[in-house]
Amino acid sequence: MAFLELKNVSKSYGTGAEKAQILRDINLTVAEGEFICIIGFSGMGKTTLINLIEGLIFPDSGEVLLDGKKITGPGPDRSIVFQNYSLLPWLNVKGNVGMAVREVFPKWNKQKVDAHTKDYIGKVNLTPALEKKPAELSGGMRQRVSVARALSLAPKVMLLDEPLSALDALTRSNLQDEITRIWLEDKKTVVMITNSVDEGLILADRIIPLTLGPGATLGPEFKVNIPRPRDKQTLDQNEEYKRLRTEITKYMIAMNQEMKQKSNVDKYQLPSLKPKSLKPLKVA
Amino acid sequence: MKKISYILLIAIAPILLNCGGGSSTTNESTESAASASSLDIEKPQLTFGFIKLTDMAPLAIAKELGYFEEEGLYVTIEAQANWKNVLDRVIDGQLDGSHMLAGQPIAAQAGFGRQASLQTPFSMDLNGNGITVSNEVWSKMKPNVPVNGDGKTMHPIKADAIKPVVNEYKTAGKPFKMGMVFPVSTHNYEIRYWLAAAGIHPGMYTAENIQGQVNADVLLSVTPPPQMPATLEAGTIYGYCVGEPWNQQAVFKGIGVPVTTNYDIWKNNPEKVFVMTKQFMDENPNTAVAITKALIRAGKWLDDPTNRPKAVGILSMPDYVGADSIVIANSMTGTFEFEKGDKRSMPDFNVFYKYYATYPYYSDAIWFLTQMRRWGQIPESKPSEWYHETAKNVYRPDIWKKAAQLLVEEGKIPASDIPETDGYKPATEDFIDGISYDAKDPIAYINSFEIGNKD
């Protein structure tokens, strides 16, 4: 049975001539405990998709269902990790996570909140940075705080909006491992947005490309049947990995070229002019 | 954050400690200023106001020589910005009393300007004002002034000398502007008297024109005393009537020439008074007497010529008059400099005690009332009794007498310093135009002027 379901979801911004369709006819079904990666080019509505699921915005048509119930707004059953961390800079690590915990579990006493908070900060290996403010942390550490905050809320669904895109390759790789490790612990349902095919192959059960906009929709899905743990050292020798990587990459490139051609025809109509003379002037 | 507050604390601590006074290590003798006074003082801590003029001297002297403290009064003396401010702050009770223009309590009683019941038990001084004109006006005026044998100008200089200059400005279409310090100030009435005596119309006050410039040949406007020289130098006014040291200041800075003093306009005319509200005097009768006692003693001390240099030193302190001592000395020590180098002896230029100067005469109050009527500040005609009554509501010789009597008993002043009087000075003709003034008949006096209202 579908745990998270998007049915014919369309979303536009603006009105009249300004109206821009971002997403159209999105249909997606995610089972409980599944790790889904949505892959796409930037500016194509990936974040809009995540925000629809989170309930920060609502579809123009179609519906988003969680556990069979329509989503009417943000809730603690879904927690989100933003691309730019969205940490409150005036709170330290403990404060950022703790504030969320207090909000979601209002009945807990201070000790319980504290223990829970520290527990989740420990999960992302940030215990030594408990008292640090976001500005004192590196990008990777900040994102780990953000992940800890999302996890600590004990959500049914985790929504990861390009959480690793702003990081350098090494940090990114480390965090991928960490996400895998945490996910394996309690197998939460995860919808993650990414711009990297490799990342999807390392993390996801399924990879679904988002086509180019305007009016982007979901492309054909790719099931990733690679057993976990997926060791990065040996992964590029894995046939399944190689096949999927080529296939998805091909699909993405083809889509990109189609787009380029379209836009080139639309945009540039060169005039048929020839320069009169290209001979250099004689120096007197 | 914590560190910052520490630093602040450390930085501020000595300042705070010093403010509190701390424990003193000075071993000054704790001389008991315990009052020999038999009076039960209702309000020992007092604040008095003054305007930076030498005739505030009795206040400064009473404080500096400890006369106030000997009466059990602890007085703070504060300079004020202008006469309106003085009046407001006394009426509102922020000042317990103040050095004031004689006209101010009278006008407040008569209903010109802000109304209030103000009273005075003490007249601070006689004379002390001068009229100064700019160098340019003086150079045009001087040929009209008669000269005596040794080439010096003959005094008193009447306004006849300035008349052609005023006319010249008038025909050139330039209004002739002069400054005085306040609409009900002695200076206003003096400069008006001086001008009108020569047939120059200084302008009437009407309900519509509260500047007092109706039909004026000379436009008079208000300028605070300390700013007179600067305003003259800026060319905004061509002359002014003001108290000292602001006439002598003009001589010293070379920006103007004093042409006459109010001693010449009206010999021994009353000048400033010490004013408290009626309410204060009623609620604190003993305090009022004690204040008057201290001020009478200060006046007596001031009129001893040997004390004048010391008085000059005190007045030149920045929190009193604050002008250079030499400037103050010029008028305080019996001389007055007119044109540069033309220093004349004027022993009675500043009288603080002689001629019963401190006694608040009803006749003085009535003179101010007649002038207010003459120039239209009192718009309608009043019966003679009104003048007497108003004067008696403002001037409080009873307090003065009580204070003086106590001083006589204490041996501080001789009994002969208390005048035998009903409060009216005898009729006098000591005016620049020789018109006789008899306070008993104010209506006749008002009618004796050529220019001005008549009843």
Binding site: - | Q45, D88, P318, E339
Partner: protein, 350 residues
């Protein structure tokens, strides 16, 4: 370290140049003033009077010196005199307290108010009074402008309703504020014991200076980073919690930027307002010396000018330090060293 040396060295050189220029300027102005005075007397009075005046001025007689720009040396001497005078007043105060101890005990026993010092305030007292005035002014500005700023930033309707008000009142000069406040305060506060001058001063200063904080708070509150608001949304914070937990903390840096401007503006208008309101303080000191017009008055005014400038500078640095501490981007711990360093090194914008 090298940088600090360079900064100090350059500042020092600039100060020397300034002093030299000032000395030369004051000399030139003095000569011109003397010449003008003598020439004026020569043309309007007589040759003899002119010679007399010249002699008098040359004799160094202080009272006939023209009121031109005083030289640095004279200003320095005057400053020393003021310091000495402050010490004297302090001694005087102590002596008075000692002298009155007995009397005051008696008065207190009778349940009456004890007698307080009646002497004149020293220059130091004036500085402290001014600092008190500005402190209260800034506190008032904060109390008024921050809540209004928050409302303006949060509610479009409130902003629309009050925008004209802010736009109209913002440019009003301190003098007019003073008159307005005076009208109101003097009507309300009729208690003669009340310190109206002080109340009028700090309210005028507060009203004059609060606009920067108001506008900055409004901007800070209305332009909170979308990401922070998302956190509030995701956690489903109610309006009240959202404001307290997210909006206000996020606006703090801008609020403090506004406060820093408010403090400098307050200090700037304080002097003028004190002058007008008859309040003691540095403004009162300048007014009094302006009125005195004695030979040392201009120098005293110059001393006050420098003191005002230096205190203004220190206040601004203090606020800059606080501002740095509350800013999220620049997370240097404020240590004594940073404060000292901040005095010399202009902080780079984050």
């Amino acid at each position: 370290m090298k940088n600090i040396l360079k900064t100090v060295g350059l500042s020092f050189a600039a100060i020397i140049a300034f002093l030299l220029l000032w000395t030369a300027g004051s000399k030139a102005l003095y000569n011109k003033a003397v010449e003008t005075t003598i020439e004026k007397i020569r043309t309007t009075q007589s040759e003899e009077a002119a010679i007399e005046t010249k002699k008098r001025i040359e004799s160094g007689d202080p009272s006939s010196q023209p009121n031109s720009l005083p030289s640095p040396l004279f200003v320095w001497e005057t400053a020393e005199l003021l310091v000495k005078d402050a010490a004297e007043v302090m001694r005087d105060k102590r002596a008075f307290k000692k002298k009155m101890a007995e009397t005051n005990e008696k008065l207190e026993a009778q349940g009456k108010k004890s007698i307080i010092y009646t002497g004149r305030p020293s220059f130091l007292d004036q500085i402290i009074t001014s600092l008190e005035n500005i402190l209260w002014g800034v506190v008032l500005a904060m109390c008024v402008s921050i809540p209004i700023g928050i409302l303006t930033g949060l509610s479009k309707n409130f902003k629309t309703a009050t925008n004209w008000f802010v736009q109209v009142f913002k440019p009003i000069s301190p003098v007019v504020w003073f008159l307005l406040v005076q009208m109101i305060v003097n009507t309300i506060m009729t208690d003669p014991e009340g310190n109206n001058a002080f109340v009028i001063t700090f309210i005028s200063v507060g009203l004059c200076a609060m606009w920067a904080t108001l506008v900055n708070t409004a901007v800070g509150v209305s332009s909170v980073d979308e990401n922070y608001l998302n956190v509030a949304k995701v956690l489903r914070l109610g309006v009240g919690k959202k404001i307290v937990r997210v909006v206000l903390p996020a606006a703090v840096p801008l609020i403090f930027t506004g406060l820093r401007i408010t403090v400098s503006v307050s200090w700037m208008v304080l002097i003028a307002v004190e002058w007008l309101s008859q309040s003691p303080g540095l403004g009162g000191f300048v007014r009094e010396e302006f009125q005195n017009g004695s030979s040392s008055s201009n120098a005293k005014i110059m001393v006050a000018m420098f003191v005002i400038g230096i205190i203004g500078f220190l206040l601004d640095k203090l606020m800059a330090t606080i501002q740095g501490m509350v800013s999220f981007e620049d997370r240097q711990k404020a240590s004594p060293l940073t404060i000292v360093r901040n005095l010399f090194v202009k902080k780079q914008a984050a």
